[in-house]
Amino acid sequence: MTEEAAVSLHDAPTRPMNMIEAINDALDIMMVRDPDIVILGEDVGYFGGVFRATAGLQKKFGRNRVFDSPINECGIIGAAVGMAAYGLRPVPEIQFADYIYPGLDQLVSEAARMRYRSAGEFTSAITIRSPFGGGIFGGQTHSQSPEAMFTHVAGLKTVIPATPHDAKGLLIAAIEDNDPVIFFEPKRIYNGPFDGYYDKPSRTWKGHPGGLVQEGYYKIPLGKARIVREGAALTVLSYGTMIHVAEAVLAEKGIDAEIIDLRTLVPLDIEAVEKSVQKTGKCLVIHEATRTSGFGAELSALVQERCFYHLEAPVERVTGFDTPYPHSLEWAYFPGPVRIGEAVDRLMKD
């Protein structure tokens, strides 16, 4: 795996894209390269998906490779397992992460276990794309962040990009990976980064360095975190939308924080985590998902196990509350600048 090399070619041509365009570009590039890739899911065909991630692909690659599916996630993922057993490389879309549960048995007991239970005779090279997270007034069934349900499953990889550039490179790596990958797309930042101030006008990716996407094929390896900002005072571990919120809050507070975008939760880049926390001595974990048994609990435990003698303060977790995602009180649920700011103050008070 030598993927980052291509990314660092400074003279590679780039194009400004939002995250949807970057994902669409990755799918397009991969479908050209590999005739075994097929895309199925609700509304992904002629219409191009409710978020437009597959727009134009059916027209370009035909109905045999990009097609609508019945509204049946068990069937979508179950059929994908069978297709992968045949030798295809399906990239199904689950329209919202909240809808993935009817397909859970096919994902957890089948796709994730296929290589192990058949001793490698059958594999599930499937990348399941799904928009996740809140902040778009989606109510409780269009806003969830269920990543911890998947990181808990042996045999699944979980990937979450935070920029268009990363979304493209990570999706290409996920599709080429020979294990099943859950690829959660933070839908709040499809069209632009979000600093957590919901009452301010929303931004686009224009002008954001992560919105400059290289042309053509490149990969960002799974299991490799990105240092968003180097710093010495505090380590922030996060992913997806919350990266941008954390960046804004810490800049506003003028704290020299090291912000790490994990990008892949399983396998986790433990080296990057250890190195940073051992340097700063303080760790703040941020995710939008509910708190109890969230991935933050795993991160907090790992940091405590591996960096205890470097810690100058208890690890802090900032998360969504342990309630369903409410509709009208969406922003009261969201772990925004106030909740993050409080945690930062506690960590930095000495």
Partner: protein, 432 residues
């Protein structure tokens, strides 16, 4: 506060919950005269390319070929030559001999678990005979006959059952959950009916690629209640997938009779009509009828005419598994009184009626098959039996979770090895 016991409203009758109950429980006298068994040879055989609706009358009737006089009759008679019939008989008898021996092995403590298919041998063997050798089968756990019919080495089956050092699945799977890619036999799951939508997906992939191979899948009538069944039927219908979907209705799902999967309301084959696909209901103890229906459905799928749902009507003559004692919930008389007889005996009597076989030949063959299975089990025992040391190298426990070992599994593997060294200080690494 809601009232715990709402009173009657007006003159409406109180609602009643119906909970199905099988006709016979332990000790009951069994009488199957209520069960319609149509005479053999009566049903018409439509063309494989017919509209699905032409098959629907057949979903509530029953395709039968072997008649009371052991003759093959009617338009569904596949007209197989005696050599093929003898081969099928031999494979069915081999499957039974294998089951008997491995059942005893479990009782002798050589493995943890076993599942017989006694009484259902015709379904797997005749179905396999009707397929091309490279069609892909997505089995449930009671189609060991397909593996046997396709020539998978018995010794490899026993190695898997013993979870020993030669087990191709590295001792990871419960006994009988085989996987044999080279034999077109998909990895068996203990989570029921998951293979149904997978088979449809495999068939869709075959169609996407312009291949000629079809997929077939099996579930029991009990697990046809799973949502996966509906997913598979919907996808098969929507994409006209080249797949044969089989429901083995053996009347019992552990202790739950078929009524808990809806059998009191309609047949399982009749579900085909609701999805608009072809459906056939077949005497599962009649090897010729199973062959004919399977061949019809396979030919239909291969000719791009779409999927078929087949209900194989049969009886689970033994317990669900070695962990089950059916005398606790059903009458022992059911097996004796089962009106469709024993599939092995029926095919044997047919061959004898044709003048192509004899009781003496049958006895000689049975002795030979018992010996063949014995040789395979002895051979497998050299590789170890469950719990007696000879298993796959220790580190294989952590392999194949992912293609590459991530850091957290490397750390956990090191932990497991330390535990082992602590418990057995003389342990020198793998294998023992």
């Amino acid at each position: 506060m809601a009232e715990s016991q709402p009173g009657p409203r007006g003159n409406l009758p109180p609602l009643e919950l119906y909970v199905p109950e099988p006709r016979y429980r332990p000790g009951d006298v069994v009488d199957y005269s209520h069960l319609p068994v149509p005479p053999a040879g009566q049903l018409a055989r439509p063309d494989e390319a017919c509209p699905a609706s032409e098959t629907w009358p057949m979903t509530t009737d029953m395709i039968r070929v072997l008649d009371e006089d052991d003759r093959a009759v009617g338009p569904w008679n596949p007209g197989l030559d005696p050599e093929t019939l003898r081969r099928m008989l031999r494979l069915m008898a081999l499957t039974r001999a294998f089951d008997d021996r491995l059942y005893r092995s479990q009782r002798q403590g050589k493995t943890s678990f076993y599942m017989k298919c006694t009484g259902e041998e015709a379904i797997a063997i005749a179905h396999a005979q009707a397929l091309a050798h490279d069609d892909m089968v997505f089995p449930s756990y009671r189609q060991q006959g397909i593996l046997i019919a396709r020539g998978y080495p018995l010794v490899d089956m026993v190695n898997q059952i013993y979870s020993n050092r030669a087990d191709k699945l590295k001792g990871r799977q419960l006994p009988v959950m085989y996987s044999a890619r080279d034999y077109g036999f998909f990895s068996i799951s203990g989570n029921l009916a998951t293979q149904f939508p997978q088979a449809v997906g495999w068939a869709m992939a075959s169609a996407i690629k312009g291949d000629t191979r079809i997929a077939t899948a099996f579930v029991g009538e009990g697990s046809s209640a799973e949502g996966d069944f509906h997913a598979a039927m919907t996808f098969a219908a929507v994409y006209n997938a080249p797949v044969v979907l089989n429901v083995v209705n053996n009347q019992w799902a552990i202790s739950s009779f078929s009524g808990f999967a809806g059998a009191e309301r309609t047949t399982f084959a009749a579900r085909a009509a609701g999805y608009g696909i072809a459906g056939l209901r077949v005497d599962g103890n009649d090897a010729l009828a199973v062959y004919a229906a399977s061949r019809w459905a396979a030919d239909r799928a291969r000719a791009n005419q779409g999927p078929t749902l087949i209900e194989h009507f049969t009886y689970r003559a033994e317990g669900h598994s070695t962990s089950d004692d059916p005398s606790a919930y059903r009458s022992a008389q059911e097996r004796e009184e089962w009106p469709l007889g024993d599939p092995v005996m029926r095919l044997k009597k047919h061959l004898i009626a044709l003048g192509e076989w004899s009781e003496e030949q049958q006895e000689a063959m049975d002795r030979e098959l018992v010996e063949q299975v014995k040789v395979a089990t002895k051979e497998a025992e050299k590789n170890g039996v469950l719990g007696h040391g000879l298993h796959h190298p220790f580190h294989t426990m952590f392999e194949d979770v992912f293609e590459e070992l991530p850091w957290h599994l490397e750390e956990q593997a090191a932990q497991a090895i330390r535990e082992r060294e602590t418990k057995w200080p003389e342990w020198k690494g793998d294998g023992a």
